[in-house]
Amino acid sequence: MNCKLSFDRFARLLRLLGAVFGGYALTALTVASAGAVMARLGMARSEAVVLAAMLGFVVYLTLLLWAFSVRNVARLWVALAAGGAAMAVLLHFVS
């Protein structure tokens, strides 16, 4: 019983870390990529960056809400890692 409680607590901590820090990292990568992509597509560079940064907060909010509602904490971390990797690759090619 005690084992289950501390496992639950640990899972909750992982979820919190994933949501707040993992979510932020993924959002930051997405913002940088989005800025680069929009600049490539013809938008003025500074404009693209400002738009991406503003939208970044909405993206982070969505990630937070999803992170706290997804069933499996493992799934959360896998998704964050995959998303992060994808954004990092995109960023590399576009910048």
Binding site: A34, E47, V50, L65, S95
Partner: protein, 525 residues
Amino acid sequence: MERSFGKSMVWLHSWAGVVLGGLLFAVFWMGTLSVFDREIDRWMMPQTRLAPGTQSISLDRIARTANATVPAQARQWRVDLPTERVPVLRFSYQDSGGDIIARQLDPETYAFIPNQGTKAGTGFIFPFHYSLHLKWQDLGKWLVGLAAMTMLALLVSGVIIHKKIFAQFFTFRPNKRLQRSSLDLHNLTGVIGLPFHFAIALSGLIIFMTLYFPQAHWGAYGSSKQANKAFTAEAYGRFARPKANTRGTLASLDAMVHRAEREWAGGQPYFVRVWHPGDANSYVELRRSYARDITMNMDQIYFDAASGKVLHRFEAAPVMTLQRFISGLHFIQFEHWALRWLYFLAGLSGCVMIATGFIFWLEARRAQHAKKGLAGVRLVEGLTIGSVTGIMSATLSFFIANRLLPLSISFAGVERAELEMWAFYLMWIAAFAHAWLRPGRAWREQASIIAGLSVLAVLLNWLTTGDHIAHALATRRWAVAGMDLMLLATAMLAVAAARRLGQRAREFAAPIGPSVPVRGERKHG
């Protein structure tokens, strides 16, 4: 863990609310007061309670004063022109070491106003709102950012878990048990205020977007320092040229102002800054006022100091202008009294939302925790009282210290302005201690303290400045009268709250049955 989306949202809403509610209240409270920060300034700096000036400002006259005052190797000096809400000129310069020294000038006589020795509204309350005065590594700003994101998540999760959002749109039953009426008020202020609370939190984040997403430009520009400078220059506009290290002159600033007004098709500058004063490469920066717009434009013109020629002109691009509009929705620097008061009331509704959220959480768990011997309610109640009534008492102590301390005091090497802030923090700590030491009675006692402090502040203003409410109204010093009236209103509300909480306490002495009206309540009369 949570078996359904709804349950996970309930969990998120409760935990985020309890853990960060205190911080959120502090940010919302200081933000609400910041709506009237310049009025608070007038109250706390009596020698700036000037009637609005009648003659137009001569910047060349100020330039002569600057010449006499600003030290030789200063990097820049600047003057902020008076506005409807700020009747004095703000004069400041940055010395060669980088320190900024600020003074105030009377716009009629161009004489310096004695140092008022206070940070007041714009220097303490407003920066507390966005930085908590925690400067190390911008920790305070990051905490406020975390609070803002949490507020957004709380608002969305709150809407999701509120099942009767339309049916209970107007529902407020103050005569029911505290648990029910606090939840009603929490839902009321949360739902009706939803557009405001969401826009305020999001716009606050957007203001600091380059702090919260410092890597935003890495994709489009690169991550070097040059890349950062390029982005800043293209987005925000920057102009700089190095010193020549030979002597130079300053042409007529008033002529530059006239030129700028023509360039801006009637728009007026709100401040003038002279870079490298006295140098041959000195240049003058003017920025356009946004007192009549929501958008905080970034229009700037740079003039060569010696010749008055235009060197550089900048206006924000469309998307950046949108960012400035969104920032303007938050900063509310425009002159519009109806809107300013509505923002103040909306901010208060946010404070009520947070406080009632706490109260509901406590009441919903009080019986259960007492039965099981859990410490949760006891801990959170102390936290709530300190965060809500505590910060109010602390703020009032800040105002009272301002009236009590002599102008040129310093104690153990601490300047007057800092002593006022010490009064704030010490009172806040005392409020927390009181809350944890006297759990049953702390709410009522702190409400009474707030009432007492508010009245004391009004009396001290009268005693130390002679500006009682009638006198302030008669001499058209609206800011001072407004502040005193708000303090008295606070006192009346606090007394009513203390009475109500006293009745609730007596109600709790009786067994809890089905929802009954509070005994002894005056019916609608």
